[in-house]
């Protein structure tokens, strides 16, 4: 089966092995090590790692379209945020009558706005299954509608990037409005539990971390399988020479559209995993800056490698947590400098650096032989 094919591949095995090892290690260090031990991993840190893993999944989704399709999406934050909002709606409904106003059905912000019933698009948001479906469907449908229009009329390159940026910007403006029914600028927060488990307990946090890790592994394998498949070959062909691929008889726009939709769905899942772990979703996730930051993760890690995206996401976000804690003023300098340095001096990212070194070694070994 094409989906299991990557499991026989060396790089995928290494990636999955490292990921599994890290997950086991974090779990052990959290559960089995006493709290005052220097190696103890606190629940806060577990939560933080869980957040990073959902970011990593998002980065993989972006790498799929940017690395293999050549489409620089500056709006993937929108798909991420939409997945997050769908999950947020479910979590909001789970609060039930424990909100500030104690309304059995309506979330607090709707009571505050004097609404007397849930808007139609909140229908079904109390069912987890339905939510899980919508987490992928909502970003998928948006990506389909946008991509269908864009790819059909062959909007590519820089134009497409700017359009995706405009898309997420427009969504941000829309979600800032109270009338949208998604909590306006405050967004949704004060979540209580998910599937009956209290979100604030350490066990739930650990479980969410592990689920994020599994989701990343599954997402990675799906993307790898996609890339290795025949469809993936056409992707790379259309990235490198769109016109030639077209002349060979491939419907490039269909390939682009399908991969774009898959990527948006993955981003939605990442958003849905992210929201219960940070406990809030608000329109700032739609900000164009966030979407561009995702691209930086991928650029730093190395385009078109998938594992590079994961490395980049983890590194940048760890640095962000570190910098904003130690010297918040320096973070934007560091981030900005990183953008410049990576694009000028490290066009292939860290993964490219690793490959280069490996190749150099191989050559060295070849010469004496």
């Amino acid at each position: 089966m094409w989906l299991t094919q990557p499991l026989y591949e060396r790089s995928t095995r290494i990636f999955l092995g490292v990921l599994l090892l890290a997950m086991i290690l974090v779990t052990l260090l959290h559960l089995a090590v006493p709290a005052d031990h220097p190696l103890y991993v606190s629940a806060y840190t577990v939560n933080l790692f869980g957040k990073y893993l959902s970011y990593a999944l998002l980065a993989v989704a972006v790498d799929l379209v940017w690395g293999y399709l050549g489409i620089l999406s500056l709006g993937h934050g929108a798909f991420f945020a939409l997945g997050g909002y769908v999950m947020g709606m479910y979590l909001m409904r789970q609060i039930g009558d424990r909100g500030v106003y104690g309304h059995p059905e309506l979330p607090d912000f709707m009571v505050f706005l004097n609404w007397d019933a849930l808007p139609w698009y909140w229908l079904g948001s109390d069912s987890f299954l339905f939510t899980a479906l919508m987490v992928m469907l909502v970003p998928g449908v948006l990506a389909f509608a946008f991509g269908y229009l864009a790819f059909r009329s062959r909007v590519t390159g820089v134009y497409l990037s700017i359009m995706t940026q405009a898309l997420t910007f427009a969504l941000m403006l829309a979600f800032y409005r109270n009338e949208m029914g998604f909590g306006g600028s405050d967004g949704m927060t004060n979540f209580r539990d998910i599937l009956g488990f209290d979100l604030r307990t350490d066990e739930t946090r650990l479980a969410l971390f592990l689920i994020s890790g599994v989701a990343l592994a599954v997402g990675y394998v799906i993307c790898r399988a996609l890339v290795n498949s025949k469809l993936g070959r056409v992707c790379i062909a259309s990235r490198d020479a769109e016109a030639r691929t077209r002349f060979l008889g491939y419907r490039v726009e269909r390939v682009q559209l399908s991969v774009f939709v898959v990527s948006a769905m993955l981003a939605g899942v990442a958003g849905a995993l992210y929201v219960p772990q940070v406990g809030i979703i608000n329109p700032s996730e739609f900000a164009p800056l966030f979407s561009i930051e995702i691209v930086l993760w991928v650029a730093l890690g190395g385009r078109a490698t998938l594992y590079g995206a994961v490395i980049g996401a983890l590194l940048v976000n760890y640095a962000k947590t570190y910098f904003t804690g130690v010297m918040p003023d320096a973070w934007l300098f560091a981030l900005g400098g990183l953008f410049v340095l990576v694009t000028v001096f490290l066009p292939k990212g860290i993964a490219g650096l690793l490959k280069q070194r490996k190749q150099a070694k191989e050559k060295e070994e070849e010469v004496p032989a």
């Binding site: 829309a174 561009i292 691209v295 953008f339």
Partner: protein, 529 residues
């Protein structure tokens, strides 16, 4: 009332001939007459006072009007300067000499009622009609609209002829016509036809509603609908004005990008920050030249151009030239630069907004008619945007640099083999585009808050304008900016500002699907690919 006005005329041509003492005695008597019970008598006394030839008449009438003309228990007339607290500072009504503070229990106000108040107001206004000062005359004529009574009407009918200023004349005829309409004169309707004045509209709708004179009602109704028509036109003009104003801001913000992105093909995400630097230059200039905001603003036009232009050149030399032919990487690198520039401003200056002063000659508004007035600062910015646009067109079409820029963008290798230094041209072009962004910042500092986030607000809009207009086409940018501004203003009244913005974005996204190369795509060799 007629002799009253005759005397008023006299009073205004009066020459000082009485001795001070005599004068004060007379004035004392005039004021004395005001302190009577009956309002009818008081009215007489006020008329007396108004036609007295005393130069202090206006002062007394004003004091009487706002209730500060009072009398002490000793019978002295005083004017209260401030009526807070228990004892009030007063001055003598006759000599205007400072009398210190007097307990408010010692004072009795010369009270007036509403009809007297109106009488006084008209008297003051009429007196002002003779003033040498044109602005005073205009204000007075303005005040008389809707306040005309029988006596005044007679006076006005004669006085209009003497008036030299056309605006005063128009106002006075309007005031007269409103009175005549109220008296049921049919001719007055013709005079009010198409007037946008609120009082005129009220008078007309009253006349249209009454039933005693059906002919008049009919005529008034016709005049009213004509006015409605004109009001609608004015509203359209206003929307258009706001749209053009917003459009010119968009054009200013985008025109620099039209050069760096459109002509050179460099995606400069730091364009917004170059705008911000221009705005901060204005602020810095005003700090350097305190008390002279106008001069500082004028000086910051070249200064803003230089600052942003030099930063742009540094960016081009330092980063962008190494990323030639990799547009997506350029986008990311310049975005990084934009983050650093923002943080630089935050660290060096302040994360808070700075206030830039608007010079006097830029504030205020140009009054076109009763329903339409145009704010001056927006007019200036519109003119500035057009000027910058024209200058850029000139540079690109008529100068050596423009020729070289066009040559390099069309065929770099060929241009180089003809002896054009392509790297120098790149540098100059990028500097030019960046400098224009600085100019936009100078203009924007007059409209919005100057803060580290100023640029971010405009970057997406700017790209939209350039893409919508067609990359590489300055005229396209102009048309696109103006039309987006107008579209936005047309949608805004019924959808709200945020929804209008969203709709415009969605519109552009859909438009680009239909015409990926914008409104005015480049044709022929320049189009390239």
């Amino acid at each position: 009332m007629k002799p009253l006005l005759a005397c008023l005329l006299l009073f205004l041509t009066w020459l000082p001939s009485l001795s001070i003492a005599e004068e004060d005695v007379r004035a004392g008597a005039l004021l004395e007459a005001l302190d009577v019970r009956s309002f009818a008598d008081k009215g007489e006394a006020i008329s007396e006072l108004a036609i007295s030839e005393d130069p202090r008449t206006r002062y007394w009438l004003n004091a009487l009007l706002d209730g500060s003309l009072q009398r002490t228990h000793e019978g002295r007339f005083v004017v209260v300067l401030n009526n807070r607290g228990r004892s009030w500072p007063v001055e003598d009504a006759l000599t205007q000499e400072d009398l210190g503070e007097i307990s408010r229990r010692e004072l009795n106000r010369i009270s007036i009622n509403n009809s007297l108040r109106n009488q006084i107001r008209s008297l003051i206004a009429v007196a002002d009609l003779y003033s040498e000062d044109l602005s005073l005359r205009r204000a007075s004529a303005e005040r008389l609209v809707g306040e005309v009574d029988e006596a005044l009407a007679e006076f006005l009918a004669e006085h209009i002829e003497q008036e030299t200023d056309r605006r005063v004349q128009q106002r006075l005829s309007l005031a007269l016509a409103i009175y005549q309409l109220e008296q049921g004169e049919l001719d007055a309707v013709a005079e009010l036809h198409g007037s946008l004045n609120t009082d005129a509209r009220i008078a007309l709708s009253r006349a249209a509603a009454q039933e005693e004179n059906p002919l008049l009602a009919q005529e008034a109704q016709a005049a009213l609908s004509a006015i409605e028509q004109r009001l609608k036109m004015n509203r359209t003009a206003e929307t258009l004005y706001f749209g053009l104003s917003m459009g010119s801001v968009l054009v200013l913000a985008a025109i620099g990008l039209a050069i760096t992105f459109g002509v050179m093909g460099v995606i400069n995400m730091a364009h917004g920050e170059l705008i911000m630097l221009g705005a901060y230059t204005t602020w810095a200039m005003q700090q350097l030249l305190p008390g002279q905001p106008g001069l500082a603003l004028l000086l910051s036009i070249p200064a803003g151009f230089m600052v942003s232009g030099l930063v742009g050149i540094a960016m081009e030399r330092g980063v962008i030239q190494f990323l030639k032919g990799r547009p997506l990487e350029t986008l990311l690198a310049t975005f990084g630069i934009s983050l650093m520039l923002q943080q630089l401003v935050r660290t060096v200056i302040s994360p808070q907004n700075r206030t830039v002063v608007t010079p006097e000659w830029m504030s205020g508004s140009l009054v076109v008619n009763d329903a339409l007035s145009l704010t001056l600062n927006r007019l200036y910015i519109m003119a500035f945007a057009l000027l910058v646009f024209m200058a850029l067109i000139y540079i690109l079409r008529r100068t050596r640099l423009g020729l070289e820029v066009r040559a390099v963008t069309q065929n770099r290798a060929m241009a180089r083999s003809m002896g054009i230094k392509a790297t120098r041209v790149d540098m100059m072009t990028f500097g030019l585009g960046s400098g224009v962004a600085g100019l936009a910042g100078v203009a924007l500092s007059q409209l919005t808050n100057v803060g580290p986030n100023l640029g971010q607000a405009y970057i997406i809009d700017s790209f939209m304008v350039v893409v919508f207009g067609g990359v590489g086409n300055l005229w396209g940018t102009l048309v696109a900016g103006m039309s987006l501004g107008i579209i936005n203003q047309v949608i805004e009244p019924w959808a709200g500002a945020v929804v209008a913005k969203i709709l415009v974005l969605v519109f552009i996204i859909l438009f680009i699907q239909k015409r990926p190369r914008g409104l005015f795509p480049q044709k022929g060799r320049a189009a390239g690919d």
